[in-house]
């Protein structure tokens, strides 16, 4: 007898997703009835409240540990932490809508962003190939539209590039999943752990193509080519969103794959190419930063390298590794979103403040913004005593103890290059001979608030380097 799927399914597990997705519908409905002068704020308020609701509900399941949907969705520690990261960065991203493109209706953007968030949240707990793909596509579909929503040609270019390249990568991913299914006869990740599958060539090829798909989403070299163009063209809040949410969701999938879906003896051989490209990304991403004249592009390259560090932390499959990866991911989230908030604050109605020129001589015009930006850049570069420094030290230590000293060496080399790139921006901001520019007068209290919150949290993380301790059992 086939059990009734509706009673088998554990709907509690996906309530946060429903809250977030439902909020998107309410945003759209509310936009129809709210007056024109208020609809921006209504949309943002409902979106943020929905995310907070989803985040709070997800938080209550932190201690829980069980499989929902027949093992397709695993709830508890790790998934919840990642969901919180996703929700928080979505909130910060929506807050940035307040600073750019005044006069546009944004209900559509907010709704799409919420649905994408729901997709990423699904990825955070996904434990079989179906849910992984479902989450990934839900995330990506929203983003294809979002990238094209700004009123400029580069935005549409960005959307098209993202659509085509991402579809290609999804093709590899899906093909890999099909091969994995062929090798094991099951879609669950747990089925992949049986030692017998490791002798099947299909398993290897499938795993490899699966990893290609993930590497694309994480924009690891050489699958990073899309990210600078797409980041540059997409509207600022969308770029901020992509720089953390996509990464967090994909990292969750990768971590679960790496920790829980590979027979122990095959783990190293299967994952080593992924760590190699992570190591290359640390160098290439930081090198790429050197020649940039657009802040969003610069942060895209910076993100390539930063994600390389986080992936490297998972090398060796240690308990520490996943905890430090989470620590660095959270630190990266705040440093990065803080930097985006400042870009938003330098925007005018017509133009986003992402060109490097708007940072030239910033210290004279907006000393506080320049100081805070300096703080974020130093943190991203890993200057002591910031959370970025601490996170890098932790990753270094786990790399060395897990037997990947070459990753540690690449991390140090990458950091050295990045110092130069970040300092170029800092020097530019404190250039005394800059020509005075017209001040963009931004009335964006939310962007100021998110900037301040990011500063505070980066500082707090430095002194309270708390890493969730009961994460590992729940990866599996």
């Amino acid at each position: 007898m086939i059990a009734n799927p509706y009673t088998q399914a554990d709907w509690n597990a996906v309530i946060p997703l429903f809250i977030v997705g439902g909020a998107a519908l309410i945003v759209l409905l509310a936009d129809l009835v709210s007056p024109k002068y208020a609809n921006r704020y209504v949309s943002m308020a409902i979106g943020i409240l929905g995310l907070i609701g989803g985040g709070v509900y997800a938080g209550t399941t932190y201690g829980v540990s069980h499989n929902a949907f027949g093992g397709g969705f695993i709830l508890g520690g790790f998934a919840v932490v990642l969901q919180e990261v996703i929700v928080i960065s979505a909130i910060f991203s929506i807050a940035l809508f307040g600073a750019i493109g005044r006069g546009d209706r944004i209900a559509g953007s907010v709704a799409l962003m919420l649905w994408s968030t729901a997709g990423a949240m699904l990825m955070a707990g996904a434990a079989n190939l179906m849910t992984i793909f479902l989450g990934l596509e839900l995330l990506s579909l929203g983003l294809y539209c979002l990238c094209g929503l700004a009123d400029r040609p580069t935005s549409r270019e960005s959307a098209l590039k993202y659509l085509i390249l991402s579809s290609t990568a999804s093709g590899f991913l899906l093909f890999g999943m099909a091969l994995l299914f062929g090798a094991t006869g099951s879609v669950t990740l747990a089925a992949l752990t049986t030692p017998a599958v490791a002798v099947n060539p299909l398993y290897w090829l499938g795993g490899g193509l699966f990893l290609v798909g993930l590497a694309f989403k994480l924009s690891l070299v050489p699958f990073h080519v899309w990210s600078p163009d797409v980041y540059e063209g997409a509207p600022l809040p969308v770029t901020a969103f992509m720089s953390v949410v996509t990464k967090a969701g994909t990292l969750a999938v990768f971590a679960r794959f790496a920790y829980a879906a590979i027979p122990a003896h095959a783990s190293n051989a299967l994952l080593i190419p992924f760590f190699i490209i992570a190591g290359i990304s640390m160098i290439a991403g930081n090198l790429g930063m050197l020649a940039q004249t657009d802040m969003k592009r610069l942060l895209a390259y910076s993100g390539i390298a930063q994600i390389g560090y986080i992936v490297a932390s998972l090398a060796g499959g240690t308990d520490q590794g996943v905890r430090y990866a989470i620590y660095y991911l959270v630190a990266y989230m705040f440093m990065n979103l803080g930097a985006f908030a400042i870009v938003a604050l330098l925007s005018t109605d017509k133009e986003e403040g992402s060109s490097i020129a708007s940072f030239h001589g910033l210290a004279q015009r907006r000393p506080v913004l320049a100081a805070v930006m300096t703080f974020f850049l130093l943190a991203l570069a890993g200057f002591p005593p910031t959370a970025g420094f601490l996170g890098k030290i932790l990753i270094l230590s786990t790399n060395v103890s897990a037997g990947f000293p070459w990753l540690a060496a690449l991390l140090i080399a990458g950091t050295a290059i990045s110092l130069y790139a970040y300092f170029k921006v800092i020097r530019l901001m404190y250039d005394r001979h800059a020509k005075p520019q017209a001040l963009p007068s931004v009335q964006a209290p939310l962007a100021y608030v998110s900037m301040a919150v990011c500063v505070i949290l980066v500082v707090v993380m430095t002194f309270y380097p708390y890493t969730p301790s009961n994460v590992l059992p729940l990866v599996k």
Partner: protein
């Protein structure tokens, strides 16, 4: 309560900083009030420190092995009392001293910040927190030495102090690394529970800790920054470079008593350095004419005593000398500040004289302090110095005992030289500088680096246009400190003194064989040394005939002083030859040869490579979709080939 003690000075610093322009002179009141609150809170929480071995306040947990917290025990209590108590008096005095300075709010912000940093140092319950405080006091000292940043000499002195102190910070950092990698914790409780767990690195950990202590406390050979640090305002010299910060090294060794008690070699090393510094500082003090530099060398010498005391495991004695020294040395500095103030920034004692009638408060207070530092019973310095000297003997270091006694005699001599030349006779300020032997262009490099010459050119910026602060503001603190210079030692008299009982359970105790000479005999010799020093000073400067011919005599002395002393044993020159010249030569080598031919080449290579790589990366980043797709597919193919091969080989 602990947080009040610790954080109110920080609050004061922030307020003085933030509202400086509005506060102006009121910043002094605010700053002093913050320290007063901290001091009252300290006294009020006396019991918390003395009962049950003190109070421990957990703050937060950083990485594993790094738990930050506050520890308030008898040792910390004594330091906090001095920092806030003497600190308050010096703050009060500064209100008057800085009355006409434009940057008075900045001054009090720094001063309060220093007190906060120093409290962090002594209240921390672990080495990492100690290092944070250690670094912060160095920073505060840097700010305050260079407070008059328009004086090039002040900036140079600040930089020198900072650099030498960083040497010490690095020493402590090494010690922390070694501790952490050996036993995985850096809390005092964890490290002191079993010092021998640190073997075989215990001795080296002590050495590195002591490098930090020596740099901060101006011990040989890292003392050269202290005389130059006198470029700062005089209250700064009193607070930081006499009473508190420079004694941080004493605190560190006393705090780490369990480590030192476990390593006899380390004890000998520290005791030796302390004894030699005590002697060297005293001898250097003989040949100086600048009143603040004399006091600086005497500070170095007295800290040598303290370091010798804690080094030879006579911890109670070393700390006792810190306690009394804080009073009489602060008193001496503040008194000299009154003189300097009254004489419009004259610091050369040859141009003083006859101050007894003019500045009676300074005369009486400094008189008490001079008797105290010279070791005259019943003044404070007698009791504590006696304990240190006897402690060295008790622990088997006879030569240190002898050195201590000889130094006591020299100290007595140069302090009374200062006292008589400054206060007795007639005022010589109207004479030409040459008449008392001040060379037009100072022959010694040290003198040039020092303050007197430059101080003439850049008169200290508190002009006298706006009148003076009420006289009592500066007089009262000096008087109180003078009084304490008399009475502070009385609690230390005798075998079972309140002082000894106070520290009964703080330090490790060793059973000692009876010393060859009793304490009474030691005291007798010390008093004899005091009298000899006093007598020689009187014969040379104090007789009716000497006072009458003072200018001529001083001139003769200036001309005949042994060059070796005037030039500070050529220490600056030796350091110059040892470190500066080789460093410069190395710099020349790199600058003339290495850089253009080798480093530049490499840099050019790197830049070219970077540019090449950048161009390479950009050549991929064409913006063309088909190119991107090609790259992605190419990457995927590489992956596919690897995995196909890997899978096929299974």
């Amino acid at each position: 309560m602990l947080f009040v003690i610790w954080l109110v000075p920080l609050l004061g610093a922030i307020l003085c900083w933030a509202f400086g322009p509005q506060l102006k002179r009121a910043a002094g009141v605010l700053g002093s009030a913050a320290i007063a609150v901290s001091f009252i809170a300290t006294v009020a929480s006396w019991g918390a420190a003395t009962q049950n071995g003190g109070t421990h306040q957990f703050l937060f947990s950083w990485l594993r092995g790094f738990d930050f917290g506050l520890l308030f025990d008898p040792l910390a209590l004594i330091w906090v009392l001095i920092i806030t108590g003497v600190g308050f008096l010096i703050h009060l005095y500064s209100v008057g001293y800085m009355w006409n300075d434009n940057a008075v709010a900045r001054f009090f912000a720094y001063l309060n910040f220093f007190v906060f940093a120093m409290l962090t140092l002594v209240l921390s319950d672990n080495f990492a927190g100690l290092l944070v405080g250690w670094g912060l006091v160095g920073l505060a000292s840097y700010f305050l030495i260079g407070f008059w940043f328009f004086k090039p000499s002040a900036v140079a002195a600040a930089r020198k102090a900072f650099v030498i102190n960083v040497v010490g910070d690095v020493g402590i950092m090494f010690a922390i690394f070694m501790m952490f990698s050996r036993i995985g914790t850096v809390t005092y409780a964890g490290v002191f529970a079993n010092p021998h767990a640190l073997d075989p690195w215990l001795f080296w950990i002590c050495v590195f800790l002591f490098i930090g202590a020596a740099a901060k406390s101006a011990q040989l050979p890292l003392h050269t920054w202290l005389p130059d640090a006198m470029e700062g305002p005089t209250p700064v010299s009193a607070l930081i470079h006499a009473a508190t910060m420079v004694t941080a090294g004493v605190y560190l060794v006393a705090r780490c008593a369990p480590l030192w008690s476990a390593s006899h070699d380390a004890q000998t090393l520290v005791g030796t350095v302390g004894a030699l510094t005590a002697l060297a500082g005293a001898v250097l003090g003989i040949a100086q004419w600048d009143i603040k530099r004399i006091l600086a060398y005497s500070t170095m010498s007295q800290i040598g005593y303290m370091i010798m005391g804690v080094g030879v495991a006579a911890y109670t004695a070393g700390v006792a000398h810190f306690f009394t020294h804080a009073f009489f040395k602060a008193c001496l500095f503040l008194g000299s500040g009154i003189i300097i103030h009254a004489l419009s920034d004259e610091q050369d004692i040859r141009l003083m004289g006859g101050m007894r009638k003019r500045l009676p408060v300074a005369f009486w207070a400094m008189g008490f302090a001079v008797f105290a530092i010279s070791g005259c019973p019943p003044f404070a310095g007698f009791f504590s110095k006696d304990q240190v000297i006897y402690g060295a003997l008790e622990h088997g270091y006879v030569w240190m005992w002898a050195v201590g006694l000889i130094t006591a005699g020299i100290t007595s001599y140069y302090m009374f030289r200062l006292f008589i030349v400054t206060f007795f006779g007639t005022y010589r300020g109207e004479l030409k500088p040459e008449a008392v032997g001040i060379a037009e262009e100072s022959s010694s490099a040290a003198q040039a680096a020092g303050s007197s010459v430059i101080a003439h050119e850049h008169s200290e910026p508190h002009g006298h246009e706006n009148g003076h602060a009420p006289g009592w503001i500066m007089a009262v603190p000096v008087a109180i400190l003078g009084l304490f210079s008399l009475v502070a030692g009385w609690i230390m008299a005798g075998q079972n003194s309140p002082w000894a009982r106070f520290f009964a359970s703080s330090f490790p105790r060793e059973a000692l064989p009876p010393a060859t000479v009793t304490e009474g005999v030691t005291s007798g010799i010390a008093i004899a040394m005091f009298l000899i020093g006093l007598g020689v000073a009187y014969m040379r400067y104090g007789t009716r005939e000497a006072l009458a011919n003072a200018p001529a005599r001083l001139k003769r002395e200036s001309e005949t002083l042994p060059a070796v002393l005037v030039n500070l044993y050529y220490f600056n020159e030796i350091l110059d030859w040892l470190f500066v010249r080789p460093a410069q030569a190395l710099g020349q080598f790199f600058g003339r040869w290495m850089d253009p031919h080798f480093v530049d080449g490499v840099v050019r290579e790197i830049v070219m490579t970077n540019r090449f790589l950048g161009t390479l990366m950009r050549s991929f980043q064409t913006g063309l979709l088909r190119a991107y797709a090609l790259i992605v597919v190419f990457g995927a193919m590489c992956f596919a080939v690897y995995y196909a091969l890997e899978g096929a080989m299974r």
